[in-house]
Amino acid sequence: MFNFILKRIAVAIPTLVILIVMSFLLMYAAPGGPFTTERALPQVIIDNLNAKYGLDQPLYKQIWTYLINVTVHFDFGPSYAFKDRSVNEIIAKGFPITLKYGLISFIVAVVFGVSLGIAAAIRQNTWLDYLAVGFSIGAQVLPNFVMAPILVLVFSLWLGWFPGGGWEGGDIAHLVLPVVALSTSFMASIARLTRSSMLEVLNANHIRTARAKGLPTKDIILKHALKPTMLPVISYLGPTFVTMITGSVVIDIFFSTGGIGLFFVNAAFNRDYPVMMGITILLGSLKILFNLVVDILYAWIDPKIRY
């Protein structure tokens, strides 16, 4: 196991370097630069800007400098669009916000999704099952960019229960709508995945044996069915977790949270190379890390799996 983890980390490093270099090249391949603006700037001003940010250097030098700054100094550089702030500052400010609503949404999605899926599987073909499946399909066809404005309309404008946006340090009132908007469709996916996985497990031989020897249903579910049910769910949860905590553009746009998702998308539009790179690296590292966590969880849940 220990060797396995070491090996995975050893592979992760070149993966990250390739990710950095590829993203860097792709970014530069896109037409226009950070200083291509509505007002055509005089060449001398563009030259001044390029000199200030080192963009007048040859590309290989820029990549090299960037890699050194990131790995040695942990410095992701300045933002070209938000010139008062460095990428480190933008991430330090935005990521905790994203992490907070993402984490809460994840917990909500997992707890409700898994419970709903299990309940639906156990009571297959009853009203509970139909309700759960109906809800899941409904929630999945309502993407969060439709969900968010509806929530604001109903709960802010009509009912006046929750503020329609803002963060205010992330108090409960400002968290409710973003969490509901972000977690619902994930919850639906988790519920459907859990339900079908559970149904499969309940038909498996070892469950039939357990039933045959007269174990109470509660024990069968908790002791014998739950763990194998969770296997496909966990492989889904790993990447989902990263997606949720690294921010949703939609949530940031509709609820003005100040999270990192909006910065990421705007960085692409602004050709704000360092911000894009910084968040890409953050995202990539987290993805690699949580894929590893999922693999470890796998081994723990299913003793048949050995690395």
């Binding site: 896109a30 603006t37 200030k52 010139k83 404005p149 746009i253 100040g258 909006l262 050709r271």
Partner: protein, 537 residues
């Protein structure tokens, strides 16, 4: 200790007795107890540094927390700001400003040296301000060479004669020089603070301004808050205690939050003006705004052969039915445009254009005749592509234009949708046939539009070049009244037709009906929190 106590007591009194107590009247209306103004910001601020930022959102904040030499009045005229008065030399090349006795928000006096420092800083190649060209546009002596790093900062034509006298020398007389001074890039910055803290001077807690408000809270991506500055020279007249800008990216969400009472001012989302105007007539406003929407026509070597023919360009311009664009697509009270320069621009007389007064049917007939003359018709259809950047309204207008040209001229029109920076790059490199563009004036004067089309202008995407046009604009810089030259230049544009003028902007906004003092009549839509107040309703 004693002095400290005394000081805080003095500030306490200053704060608790603002010029207008809550029960005071203003223009016959009782002032509200609530003097907080909340508005919607489209995007996060690029920077809190007036020399670095280039966005409109930032300019709105800077007008509150800094004060330049002059301010806009609610009608868009210029009134003294940090400068109490100014004189102009006979040759119109030297402006001498006498500053008021004012203070920075840290208590230091605002000096002429601060202005010198600020203007040099804007031109400094090391700062690399994107607005450095504004110094050049104002024709300040040596601006061009200083920006290019060819001359030292000290050679820039600005000087502090004494601590309260600021002098600017221009290379050519500019009749509208003073009106350019309301632009945020000309605002002063506190030399002492900036020199001490460097780039960190705009970090939270460090920022020092000389405006009617001070920045008290800034949450990137969420909100920006400024509150009354008790040290402001005219604090007595300030009524709004606190202005909050909430960053709400989506215009429809912003409208919902306006209706929910979270914000007092927001934009009317496109297409919703008629409905909102009917439902809330007292809160929905549409006023001229100095921006103009056009299609460039590529006249360069790289452009299509057809567009090199003036008859084709005219046929395209004539046959685009602007009424459909303004009344059916945009529906926000926009003006049909036959002229690049916004019709409400100060001191601008539109040339008398025959085709502008024709009916659309007459224009269509003429367009067909012109196109046939140029040799295009059913056997040889005109083939062109309209490029536009991603946006619902641009798409709708491009579809409408392509339909007009297809139906009326039998042209084969393709649409090409590109992401913004790709669109800009294609335009700058003349990799397009027809390209959507909009220009918003930097100041209220026709040259802010017309200068774009001189042959040396970097903005001139059509590569239109006319010696006569260049001459008229060059001459206008030294004229006491350049209005006639502007009209002649606009006439040349109509004759050569390098652009298809489509519509001129209005600013369609919602403002709560208890908020008074919004500068509806200011074409530049430059607003200052200190001009506003809330009344009891």
């Amino acid at each position: 200790m004693k002095t400290k106590l005394f000081l805080s007591a003095a500030i306490g009194i200053a704060i608790s007795t603002p010029g207008f107590a809550a029960d005071k009247m203003m223009n016959g209306m009782k002032l509200s107890d609530n003097q907080v103004f909340t508005y919607r910001l489209l995007d996060d601020l690029q920077s809190l540094d007036p020399h670095i930022s280039t966005d409109v959102n930032g300019a709105e904040v800077f007008r509150d927390i800094f004060e330049g030499l002059v301010n806009d009045d609610p009608q868009g005229g210029q009134i003294p700001g940090s400068a109490e008065s100014w004189t102009v030399s006979d040759d119109k090349l030297t402006y001498t400003f006498t500053l008021r006795d004012t203070k920075w928000s840290n208590g230091d006096p605002v000096t002429a040296q601060d202005f010198v420092f600020a203007w040099r800083r804007l031109s400094n190649p090391e700062i690399a301000s994107e607005y450095a060209w504004y110094m050049e546009l104002m024709s300040v002596v040596n601006a061009k060479a200083v920006i290019a790093g060819e001359k030292p900062l000290e050679d820039l034509g600005v000087k502090a004669l004494d601590s309260k006298t600021f002098q600017v020398k221009l290379e050519t007389p500019l009749p509208y020089f003073v009106s350019m001074l309301t632009h945020a890039s000309t605002f002063p910055v506190p030399q002492k603070v900036v020199e001490k803290l460097g780039a960190d001077w705009i970090k939270p807690g460090n920022l020092v301004g000389n405006g009617a408000y001070v920045l008290t809270e800034y949450e990137p991506g969420e909100k920006v808050v400024r509150e009354r500055n008790p040290l402001y020279w005219n604090n007595y007249s300030t009524i709004i205690e606190k202005t909050v800008g909430l960053i709400i990216n989506d215009e429809n969400i912003a409208l919902t939050r306006y209706l929910a009472g979270d914000v007092d001012k927001t934009l009317v989302p496109s297409g919703q003006y008629p409905r909102l105007e009917a439902e809330r007539p007292d809160e929905t406003h549409s006023n001229p705004r100095s921006c103009s929407y056009v299609y460039w026509m590529n006249m360069s070597e790289k452009g299509p052969e057809a567009l090199k023919d003036v008859r084709v360009r005219k046929a395209l311009a004539y046959s685009l039915d602007r009424r459909v664009v303004t009344e059916n697509i945009l529906q926000g009270g926009q003006y049909e445009s036959f002229n690049f320069t916004h019709q409400a621009t100060a001191n601008f007389t539109k040339p008398v254009l025959e085709w502008a007064n024709w009916t659309q049917a007459e224009r269509d007939t003429k367009a067909k005749a012109l196109l046939a003359e140029a040799g295009y018709g059913p056997d040889n259809p005109l083939k062109l592509t309209i490029s536009y950047n991603t946006d619902e309204a641009h798409k709708k207008i491009a579809i409408a234009a392509s339909q007009f040209w297809k139906q009326k001229l039998g042209a084969d029109i393709q649409l090409s949708n590109n992401e913004w920076k790709v669109h800009l790059t294609n335009m700058r490199n003349q990799d397009y046939d027809l390209a959507r563009y909009a220009w918003c004036g930097d100041y209220n004067e026709a040259s802010t539009y017309l200068d774009l089309l001189t042959s040396s202008s970097t903005f001139n995407a059509a590569k239109f070049a006319s010696d006569e046009y260049d001459r008229l604009l060059a001459e206008s810089k030294t004229q006491a009244d350049p209005a006639e030259n502007y009209t002649k230049a606009a006439q040349i544009l109509a004759d050569v037709m390098p652009i298809v003028p489509i519509y001129q902007y209005t600013s369609a906004i919602m403002v709560k009906d208890d908020v008074m003092g919004w500068p509806f009549d200011n074409l530049m839509q430059n607003w200052y929190s200190r001009d506003m107040y809330r009344v009891e309703k």
